[in-house]
């Protein structure tokens, strides 16, 4: 067998592609499901925390800063193992899908809070004062004047961070969430061939290359580079 056909036989074996396509497709659906719930809940929670922070209640702000710093400093896989293996022993049983969702959403919330907060801080004080002087309430100023401008600034960094965290759905394989990597690596060990792994990698490329390209576009389109 020459090198080329050996290569095809190792990474692109047609019968295996046919056999495992449904499994990988199932994994794609699970990955998209987790990614969707993580992105929505994580970003909303991050925005909520940033809004709470604008009220400048010292006790709340301290808690938020600690929450954000801890989740930025800990590897998500550590948190996943901690929650997945630790909670059952104190009587809380969460399915692995929920564990993955919870951990990734909290991590995304921490990063999103930091990004939203930086965006809010970057809006000049005069904007607040002008809005308040027209008779808008604090909440009204935040909702109609500050956040619309702040969120525009946060689009590129938030997109990039969201992509990084969404790719972490692959960590779910460690606790048996049936996402793409999990399907691919169990098919790989079952079939004794690297083709399913290649299929998994291609599935990720199909999912993420458009998003990464979108992030690149947003970066040039939206960013007001300060340096």
């Amino acid at each position: 067998m020459n090198a080329w056909s050996r290569f095809l036989d190792t990474f692109f074996k047609w019968p295996l592609i046919e056999r495992y396509f449904p499994d990988i497709a199932k994994g794609v659906v699970v990955t998209i499901e987790i990614a969707a719930v993580v992105v929505v809940t994580g970003i909303l929670l991050g925005l909520a925390l940033a809004v709470v922070r604008t009220f400048r209640v010292r006790a709340f702000n301290l808690l938020i800063v600690i929450f954000v710093d801890v989740l930025r400093a800990l590897p998500p896989l550590v948190l996943i193992l901690l929650v997945y293996f630790g909670l059952p022993n104190i009587g809380i049983n969460l399915p692995s899908f929920a564990v993955l969702w919870l951990v990734l959403a909290l991590v995304l919330a921490a990063f999103a809070e930091e990004i939203f907060w930086a965006g809010i801080l970057s809006i000049p004080k005069g904007q607040w004062e002008a809005a308040r002087s027209t008779g808008l309430s604090f909440i009204g100023t935040l909702a109609y004047i500050v956040l619309p401008q702040a969120i525009r600034l946060t689009v590129p960094p938030l997109t990039n961070r969201t992509i990084v965290i969404t790719k972490n759905t692959a960590l779910g394989t460690v606790i048996g969430v049936g996402e793409i990597l999990n399907q691919a690596s169990s098919a790989e060990s079952f079939s004794g061939n690297a083709t399913p792994l290649m299929m998994g990698a291609i599935a990720y490329l199909i999912l993420f290359v458009p998003v990464v390209a979108l992030g690149r576009f947003l970066e040039t389109r939206f960013s007001w580079r300060r340096v």
Partner: protein, 221 residues
């Protein structure tokens, strides 16, 4: 409450697990000392190619960077570790980690360097070249120092991401910090060793996370 302390903050078990967890911590440091310099060097090469005058080289570099930014690092690692043996190359866990991290980390660093170099005005290049500096000298002595200063928070914050990412090496049984802690957990049926590992990550990375916030504010000001 009692159960929580027993399960997560059991100091007896932590003390027992300490030697193995510390050994894991040393492995984690070793991995970082290999993969961060590799990534910084590879990233610079990616960045320079992606800024080249040749349009084809530019597009190729950007395609490669986006390719590796689109694949989850764990997928890359498992592909290298479990997939390549079928093609006749059987890397050790450390080699697999080095290869996968090199590809992933270089792509991210490449993007950061590129933004940094682009942030330095072209007048700097022209002025440097007009004083008689060669292209490589202009890059090394004039452009790069300013570029690095401009993107320093991003470089540092990516280093933090890499340190955190080394925890996925546990999946290919490289006995780093998380792997060792998880071994201790599975032997003792108690999560305290993982809390201990988490505490070590926190002590190591929290100061840097704080520093990044400060750096970001200083540059913004």
């Amino acid at each position: 409450m009692e159960a929580i302390v027993q399960q997560f903050f059991n100091f007896g078990i932590m003390r027992e697990a300490l030697p193995i967890v510390v050994a894991g911590f040393i492995q984690t440091i070793a991995i970082c000392l290999i993969v961060i310099p590799l990534g910084l060097a590879g990233g610079l090469v990616f960045a320079l190619i992606s800024l080249s005058r040749l349009r084809s080289a530019r597009w190729a570099a950007i395609a490669v960077i986006d390719f590796f930014r689109s694949i989850p690092p764990l997928v890359l690692l498992i592909f290298v570790y479990a997939g390549l043996p079928f093609a006749g190359f059987r890397p050790s866990p450390m080699t697999a980690v080095a290869i996968a991290f090199f590809l992933n980390t270089s792509s991210y660093y490449g993007e950061i360097y590129r933004a940094g170099i682009e942030s330095v005005g072209s007048g700097q290049w022209d002025a440097a070249r007009s004083t008689g500096l060669r292209l490589d000298q202009a890059l090394a002595y004039v452009v790069l120092p300013q570029a690095v200063r401009n993107v320093l928070p991003d470089l540092v914050s990516n280093a933090v991401e890499v340190v955190k990412l080394t925890s996925i090496a546990s999946v290919v049984a490289l006995p780093e910090l998380l792997y060792s802690a998880d071994m201790a957990r599975s032997v003792t049926f108690n999560s305290s060793p993982i809390v201990l590992a988490a505490a070590i990550y926190l002590v190591m990375l929290w100061p840097i996370v704080r520093l990044i916030s400060r750096l970001e504010r200083r540059i913004a000001a």
